[in-house]
């Protein structure tokens, strides 16, 4: 079922949390709301669930307004960050509670609970109380409670954040698998970009109550709409440096630390813009180390080297306080305080307007 938000806003007294959002979550898609703490993503999820009242605007499920309906009448299921299992009920009662409330006969309830428990591999835990379960098992019970009712929409509020790294990786795959099997519209809240990138069909990157970009994970990563998205997505974060647009031999170039580097061909840069100051963004993976005398590279001094497993991060200071980090293979050696140079992949450079923070328009 499609979920549409029209001019949706939410304030707590004078604190505006969501600012007139217009957003459509397409049917059967897995959409992630991604953003830092306090950006309004959980509030948005709670508005869709009916746990908060909107200050303005409308929420539509399949074209029908639902913002006046209580949570129980929206046919949604929600997985909470803390799992929110009923502590006095056993696993079977936890999963079946929504069916019991809806008057499903006991026998049918037991069958459906058994089926879901089998799929989630928790059939042996049905008689246990939540306190006797591990984090991963609790997570599955919470998922089971959501799945058993066959809802129109799945809402998930950082459901993996309480799990250890290994289990989180496993559950990421399983959640995606369940979504593919159930084909239910899913809205997932997280601040973890890895979860967003690996699981989603679409990502809505949020900041300060505004959706900064709503696109596929690939697009969000490769064509960030603004400086916030560019800086938030990707780990290690993107390098940003101020450049000036110039022209050499009839072609636009970017002046960085006294060196002219070719302007990225993907952007429409007019001659009239010569002298304009821009922000160049380049991901660490798209920076390579070059010889200090390489004419196409920007020379500097190595100021930091970090091994991060199979890769190594090498920070090069190309001007006072202007440092560019390159992600290179672990075998590449670099010594601190030695001369080095950084070169950028021309196709992977991003340009932003420093005044608005927006990405410069790309050539069609």
């Amino acid at each position: 079922m499609e979920v549409r938000l029209e001019r949706l806003s939410k304030s707590f007294c004078a604190n505006v949390v969501l600012k007139a959002l217009d957003l459509t979550f397409p049917e059967r898609k897995f959409v992630t709301l991604l953003g830092p703490s306090g950006c309004g993503k959980t509030t948005l999820l709670r508005l869709i669930a009916g746990l908060e009242r909107a200050s303005g605007g409308a929420i539509l499920f399949g074209g029908e307004r639902v913002d006046h309906l209580p949570p129980g009448e929206r046919n949604i299921a929600m997985v909470f960050q803390s799992y929110a299992l009923y502590p006095t009920m056993d696993v079977a009662a936890n999963i079946g509670y929504g069916l019991k409330v809806r008057g499903v006969p006991k026998r049918e309830r037991a069958e459906r609970v058994g089926l879901v428990a089998k799929v989630l591999e928790i059939a042996h835990l049905l008689a246990r109380k939540p306190r006797a379960l591990s984090g991963g098992q609790r997570q599955r019970v919470a998922l089971g409670r959501a799945m058993v009712r066959k809802p129109n929409i799945f809402l998930m509020d950082e459901p993996l954040s309480n799990l250890d790294a290994k289990l989180r990786a496993t559950m990421r795959g399983e959640l995606k698998r369940f979504h593919l099997d159930l084909e239910t519209t899913s809205i997932y809240v997280t601040h973890d970009q890895l979860e967003a990138m690996t699981m989603s069909d679409l990502v809505a990157v949020m900041n300060e109550g505004v959706v900064q970009q709503f696109a596929t994970p690939e697009e969000v990563y490769h064509c960030p709409a603004n400086l916030f998205v560019a800086g938030f997505i990707g780990s290690p974060p993107m390098n940003f440096c101020e450049v000036t647009l110039a022209e050499r031999d009839g072609t636009p170039v970017l002046m960085l630390a006294g060196r002219a580097i070719p302007a990225p061909p993907a952007f429409r840069l007019a001659r009239a813009d010569e002298g304009r100051r821009l922000v160049l963004g380049i991901r660490t993976q798209d920076v390579r180390l070059a010889a200090p005398d390489d004419a196409d590279a920007v020379p500097g001094t190595v100021w930091m080297v970090e091994l991060i497993g199979s890769e190594r991060l090498v920070g090069v200071e190309v001007a006072p306080k202007l440092r560019i980090t390159a992600e290179v293979r672990a075998e590449v050696r670099a010594a601190i305080d030695t001369p080095a140079a950084v070169a950028f992949d021309p196709a992977r450079r991003h340009l932003f307007d420093p005044a608005t923070g927006r990405a410069l328009p790309r050539a069609a």
Binding site: L51, G72, E73, A77, M78, A84, P87, R145, R149
Partner: protein, 295 residues
């Protein structure tokens, strides 16, 4: 285990035994006195264990007053105080249960609203209530007596229940407040998403989760109302309406003390509370524990 550890353990157990003896001795003495014949109670040198065991005191307490009225059409003044024991016992049960029911229900609902709904003074109310509980109850007796006179409620169970509720409610509310603060709001929201109504969420999700706190509040109310003497002494005057604590004082009339009846009544007063504690001890510890940690 080393000798030092053994010695330490022996000392610890010795200390525990000594404390247990100090606590239990009055109870044991009361019990043994209640089953002694009258002449042995004041015998010298005194005995702890009775030489001759008897249930004459308990029999006198359970005889009831009807036997006296039927026997010779006697007036109430001619009936011995022991004949009213069953009335007093029943009065105390009714008043204690009434107090407990009102205190527990009202304090749970009040505490729930204090933890879940926002309004001015929301945070101050529980602490102010606790301050109110710290005032000695004797201060309330006379003003409340005047109120009861105005309301024409003196010598009624309702006056006692209202008096006890004033004493128990603030602490019960504070106790439930500390307990319900620890019940995550997400489980209620999960139930709302599951389709339950607010009322259903309260009864099926919140109450079972808060059960240890409710038991602790109920036991506290029971103890206060069962053991109180002040309000019973102040508000009640008919012999047949007295609570147990005030009634048993009639076994002592200034010139003569019937220790056998007094001790037998004391033992019988203790039994219901002892049974209750034995049955609900686990919940009580959990309830007061939650309040202690989270408050």
């Amino acid at each position: 285990m080393t000798t030092r550890a053994l010695l330490g353990r022996a000392l610890l157990y010795g200390l525990l035994l000594a404390v247990t003896f100090v606590v239990c001795f009055p109870l044991l003495w009361a019990f043994f006195t209640s089953v002694k014949p009258k002449d042995e109670i004041f015998a010298w040198p005194p005995t702890l264990l009775p030489e001759a065991w008897t249930l004459e005191n308990d029999r006198a307490l359970f005889a009831g007053k009807d036997a006296y009225f039927q026997a010779g059409g006697a007036t109430a003044t001619a009936v011995p105080p022991s004949a009213f024991f069953l009335d007093w016992f029943l009065n105390s049960v009714v008043v204690a249960l009434g107090t407990t029911a009102i205190s527990t229900v009202v304090s749970t609902l009040a505490a729930y609203s204090l933890t879940r709904f926002r309004f001015p003074g929301q945070r101050a109310v529980p602490y102010l209530a606790l301050v109110g509980y710290m005032v000695p109850s004797i201060i309330f007796v006379f003003p409340m007596f005047l109120v009861m006179v105005e309301l024409r409620l003196t010598d009624t169970f309702l006056s006692l229940v209202l008096g006890y509720v004033c004493i128990t409610l603030p602490f019960c509310m504070w106790l439930m407040w500390t307990f319900l603060r620890g019940v995550p709001v997400e489980i209620e929201e999960a139930a709302l998403v599951d389709g339950a109504s607010r009322l259903r969420v309260f009864f099926e999700i919140v109450l079972p989760t808060a059960w240890p706190g409710i038991v602790a509040a109920a036991i506290f109310s029971l103890i206060v109302s069962w053991n109180d003497y002040l309000f019973g002494r102040g508000f009640m005057n008919s012999m047949e309406n007295l609570p147990l604590t005030v009634g048993v004082m009639h076994f002592f009339d200034g010139t003569h003390v019937d220790l056998g009846l007094m001790m037998a009544s004391s033992v019988l007063m203790t039994v219901p509370m002892a049974i209750l504690f034995a049955l609900l001890q686990r919940h009580l510890v959990a309830g007061f524990g939650a309040g202690a940690v989270k408050g």
